[in-house]
């Protein structure tokens, strides 16, 4: 096979892997949007907050240490223990559930039946609040996250492809793990949605709040549930991105990458978020590889947004968005 084709194949594979990470972030948006019609601007910051909490718990950091030290004149920084990764993840999930409950109790519950734009504004406020809370709890320094996920280039793929084509593919181990975890997550979420009583209630709430209330489904419970799920997805996304490029403020900006994914896949479809992510991932890598040289490169920065714009014009509900059922 000619080198160009092989290289394109490698780029495609890498694009798929990057796409999975985009999908993970987009998934968090879809969950909340579907169930409550809220576009959660804070999703990216939630990923940052979750990742920072995870690192903090693993390292045995004292939460709010700066604040405590400033008030009481103490010099606390670390508990002096290290928590194993798995336990830390479980604890972080707990923190995200408490956060979901607080968001519902203190913010969203008071905004029932308000305009979408008001709910959206509330999540912007939430984003800034969480950003500050994350800094206050765990400090604003750049942290490395190591939960024992494999790093580096996968040797097996490199060797096998080299033997077959005389050209070794470079695929990151972390990307492979991320892809597998994302796939499992999506399957679990879809099964939950489709086959459990709570999942059915969740879809019912997504369709019609009032009717859901009338059959005795508690909106409060459902919304805590979706915010918890979104928090969990944010944790997984934060873990993957954090392991790749460190836990720092820029982690919250991955939310921006999720926007074109949502436009493509549709705001209301879980499979859409996945496929949309993959298309954007592969698309931007291949575009950079094939067209990039002709226009002077750096197409990765804008490709996704232009694609999203085209979709907004020609197919606003996205590839998989729920069709608006209109009876005549």
């Amino acid at each position: 096979m000619p080198d160009q084709v092989l290289f394109a194949m490698e780029v495609t594979l890498n694009g798929l892997m990057a796409g999975v990470l985009y999908s993970l972030v987009a998934l968090g948006f879809v969950l909340i949007f579907k169930a409550s019609g809220i576009f959660n601007y804070a999703q990216g910051v939630m990923a940052l907050f979750a990742a920072a909490t995870l690192v903090g718990i693993m390292d045995g950091q004292v939460p709010f240490s700066h604040l405590i030290n400033a008030i009481f004149g103490t010099d606390l920084h670390h508990f002096g223990w290290h928590v194993p990764a798995l336990l830390a993840i479980v604890l972080t999930v707990g923190v995200m559930i408490v956060l979901a409950w607080l968001v519902q109790k203190l913010v969203m519950r008071h905004l029932v039946n308000q305009e979408p734009i008001i709910l959206f504004m509330a999540t912007i406020g939430l984003a800034y609040f969480l950003e500050g809370l994350s800094d206050l709890m765990w400090g604003s320094s750049i942290k490395t996250l190591d939960v024992g996920l494999p790093q580096g280039i996968n040797d097996t793929i490199d060797r096998v492809t080299f033997d077959a084509f005389g050209y070794g593919f470079f695929i990151d181990n972390l990307d492979i793990v991320a892809a597998i975890i994302a796939a499992l997550l999506v399957i679990a979420l879809m099964a939950f949605n489709q086959y459990t009583k709570e999942g059915r209630a969740l879809r019912a709430v997504a369709d019609d709040h009032q009717a859901a209330l009338s059959v005795g489904i508690s909106l409060n419970f459902i919304w805590v549930l979706v915010w918890s799920l979104a928090g969990f997805v944010a944790l997984v996304a934060g873990m993957m991105w954090g392991a790749k490029s460190g836990v720092q403020f820029s982690l919250s900006l991955i939310a921006l990458k999720a926007l074109p994914v949502l436009m493509l896949g549709g705001f209301t479809s879980i499979p859409g978020a996945i496929v949309g992510g993959l298309i954007i991932g592969v698309g931007e890598k291949l575009f950079e590889f094939l067209i990039g040289p002709m226009v002077g490169g750096a197409t990765e920065n804008w490709f996704a947004y232009v694609l999203a714009l085209l979709f907004l014009v020609f197919r606003p509900q996205g590839l998989f968005g729920e069709k608006i059922i209109e009876r005549v």
Partner: protein, 285 residues
């Protein structure tokens, strides 16, 4: 003007439960958004095992009354500011809708409100949400609903949003039945349906009432149909009960005939005449 009817009530046979009603709404006032006064002191009683009709034109306050009972007002920024709604002697107007469903009161909302993207069967199953019964019981209840609405069984796998208006109304009533309610608050079941379908739906309501012992409080604009199937009726006008009585008597009442059934001794009147008649009548009373 409700005087003669209220007196006649005592000798009506099917209204034995009136002294000890299942649902008692007493003198409630409802305000939306802290400013809009919708109900100005509505009182009504729903006896166990009866079909009680709540009649009146657009904006009379029928839906608001039902929502005040089922506690759905709160999510629409409405509030019961005076009076009391009690169910089996317990004050309920400030409780949670889910609590009321567990107590046995469920509302079928105006305009069906099926979950469009769920299948018909999934819609029915959402009605089971608050119950802690076994799966076998769930399936048995599902079959029961299908026996009342065979048409739903045919369409069980299609998305509710794509079914016809009549099927959606059946789906909404079936969904409420899955909660095994003692009382169903049925809001405008005839809306947008062909007369034949309206008959069919009311027929099923009557059957549910007689065979399953479900108590109904139904809000209707279609006075004619409602008074044929109900035992007792209340007529609302701009947030007040203006008349009440056994359905059979309401049907014969000249005012009801005049205003709501469009009939009078001199035959059908034009709308203009009715309006002036009505104004005069109000002035006098």
């Amino acid at each position: 003007m409700s005087q003669p009817l209220t007196q006649a009530r005592s000798d009506a046979a099917p209204l034995a439960g009136m002294d000890d009603p299942l649902l008692d709404v007493s003198n409630i006032e409802v305000i939306y958004n802290h400013v809009i006064l919708v109900l100005k002191g509505v009182s009504l009683k729903v006896p166990k095992g009866g079909i009680t009709a709540l009649l009146g034109g657009n904006g009379a306050g029928k839906t608001t009354t039902l929502k005040a009972i089922s506690a759905l007002l709160h999510s629409e920024r409405g509030e019961v500011t005076k009076g009391r709604v009690s169910y089996r002697g317990e004050t309920v107007h400030n409780s949670d809708p889910a609590d009321l469903v567990r107590k046995g009161v469920i509302q079928v909302m105006e305009g069906r409100h099926c979950f469009e993207h769920l299948t018909v069967e999934e819609n029915l199953l959402t009605g089971f949400y608050t119950r802690k019964a076994s799966k076998a019981e769930m399936n048995a209840d599902l079959e029961k609903v299908y026996s009342y609405f065979p048409r739903l069984k045919e369409r069980r796998k299609s998305q509710a949003g794509y079914t016809s208006g009549g099927e959606q109304q059946m789906c909404a009533i079936g969904r409420a039945m899955m909660a095994k309610p003692e009382t169903i608050l049925l809001d405008e079941p005839s809306m947008g349906l062909a007369p034949q379908l309206v008959e069919e739906i009311f027929g099923i309501v009557k059957e549910l009432n007689e065979r399953e012992g479900v108590t109904f409080l139904l809000a209707e604009q279609n006075t004619n149909v409602a008074l044929r199937f109900a035992h007792y009726g209340y007529i609302l006008e701009s947030g007040r009960v203006v008349m009440d009585g056994p359905a059979a008597e309401l049907r014969e009442n000249p005012d009801v005939k005049e205003f709501y059934l469009g009939m009078s001794d001199e035959g059908r009147k034009s709308f203009r005449d009715v309006r002036s008649y009505r104004r005069r009548k109000r002035w006098l009373s």
